[in-house]
Amino acid sequence: MIEIRNVSKWYGPTQVLKGCSTQVAKGEVVVVCGPSGSGKSTLIKCVNGLEPFTEGTITVDGISVGDPKTDLPKLRARVGMVFQHFELFPHMSVRQNLALAQVRVLGRKADEADARGMSLLDRVGLRAHADKFPGQLSGGQQQRVAIARALAMDPICLLFDEPTSALDPEMIGEVLDVMVELAQEGMTMMCVTHEMGFARKVARRVVFMDHGEIVEDAPAGAFFDAPASDRARTFLARILHH
């Protein structure tokens, strides 16, 4: 589904991605982790072309992201993304947030889009909040709405960019619950996250990044039980012992 081959990226003279290669198969959940500044967010934003990359190729469902001839908006409409800071549109109600792209991008009728949005709100347990504005919801609620908004487009895969990093600890669980459910239903997911419990539970593979390179790309069990590199061991020790 997602194929990343030898992707490198420079910001001026600084190289932020160094020959990264990995893939996510259909129905697979892959967790990307690593210390801050390791390039994991940059890498996941390359997958839907929000960040351009300098070298290498990325294909999603066989379509090349870096090819200037690719219709990026069309491809992005099929790839859902969930952001660290939710990025709901604050000037619209929850209901409008869910319907907007369905109507404007997919061309669905307003009532059809609304019905789809409401059923997804149901699913993330927020139907009662449909007519509130994002600023009136807690962080955890906003992130669940953001997931519903991504799902409303009927995506072929979902990208998560640190979806719980901006949340208070007591709200992380409600977001992870939704993500676990999606994973168990067979959604293809690439998740940048530090939630190792989530990774252990649903990830098929863990990709560990440091200084712009993929240091390890291993089955989740193997990664946690016997990380191959010192850097991964240090990283795990640091995040698991606090």
Binding site: K45, A77, M81, P90, A101, V105, G135, M153
Partner: protein, 245 residues
């Protein structure tokens, strides 16, 4: 002060005509409103477009937008009035030039409205750009990630938020348009300031004249202010902190 007050002057007939001085001021107010409102519509539409261009990833569009802003904000408004009125028509193709000079209807009004509109658009553009750059970059990313084209992202996500943010500075700008429209008298638009000068010379009651005109400008600007405050209240988003009086 040895001045002969005459507040009744507004009801008196002008010398050698059957209108009253009040009629003159009302005509003047009409032209002031016409120039100001036309200029404001132009300034808003061009200013929004140019301000948005300056925040796009395209270097060419940014350069075009910057050129527009710098062109109109680095030259005094009065000089711009003269430029549009006396200079620009000379540089048009010959047929157009003749048409503008001899046949264009309401030439002074059209020139003044365009000039003031362009001048103000540069200021609106700068304010809007500030509003857009104050939004978190993630908003644009989120819109693009949902499959919006860049113009759609501006239309549905970026501009509705940026415009709300810049309502307070835009309010000042709208009030400025009424005040700046007084410069149009210099190219012969018979607006409020023009009529006031004429009335002062004709009636020799300068103090009453300018006090009345002051009041009329104040009412225009203050009405603009209240109108914008109403819009600000109407478009306020529940749950956002930004509040003002």
């Amino acid at each position: 002060m040895n001045y002969h007050w005459n507040w009744g002057i507004f009801g008196e007939q002008v010398k050698g005509g059957d209108e009253t001085y009040l009629d003159w001021l009302i005509t003047g107010l009409g032209w002031t409103l016409a120039v100001s409102l036309t200029a404001w519509v132009l300034a808003l539409s061009i200013g929004i477009a140019v301000g948005a261009l300056r925040t796009t990833p395209s270097r060419l569009l940014v350069a075009l937008g910057t050129a527009w802003v710098e062109l109109f904000r680095n030259v005094p408004l009065l000089v711009q009035m003269f430029l549009w009125f006396f200079v620009v028509p000379e540089f048009l193709p010959r047929d157009w030039s003749l048409w503008v000079k001899q046949e264009m209807p309401a030439k002074e009004f059209v020139t003044a409205a365009l000039c003031l509109g362009f001048f103000t658009s540069a200021r609106v553009a700068e304010q809007l750009r500030a509003g857009i750059t104050s939004l978190p970059r993630g908003q644009r990313d989120a819109a693009l990630a949902l499959g919006f084209s860049l113009p759609q992202a501006y239309r549905h996500v970026i501009l509705p938020q940026a415009l709300r943010i810049v309502i307070p500075p835009l309010t000042s700008e709208f009030m400025n348009v009424f005040k700046n429209s007084s410069v149009a008298f210099a190219i012969g638009v018979m607006e409020l300031t023009f009529q006031a000068r004429q009335m002062q010379e004709d009636s020799e009651q300068g103090i009453e004249t300018y006090l009345a005109v002051t009041l009329l400008y104040f009412i225009c600007a203050f009405t603009a202010n209240r109108g914008m405050a109403w819009i600000e209240a109407r478009t306020r988003v529940p749950g956002l902190i930004a509040k003002s009086g």
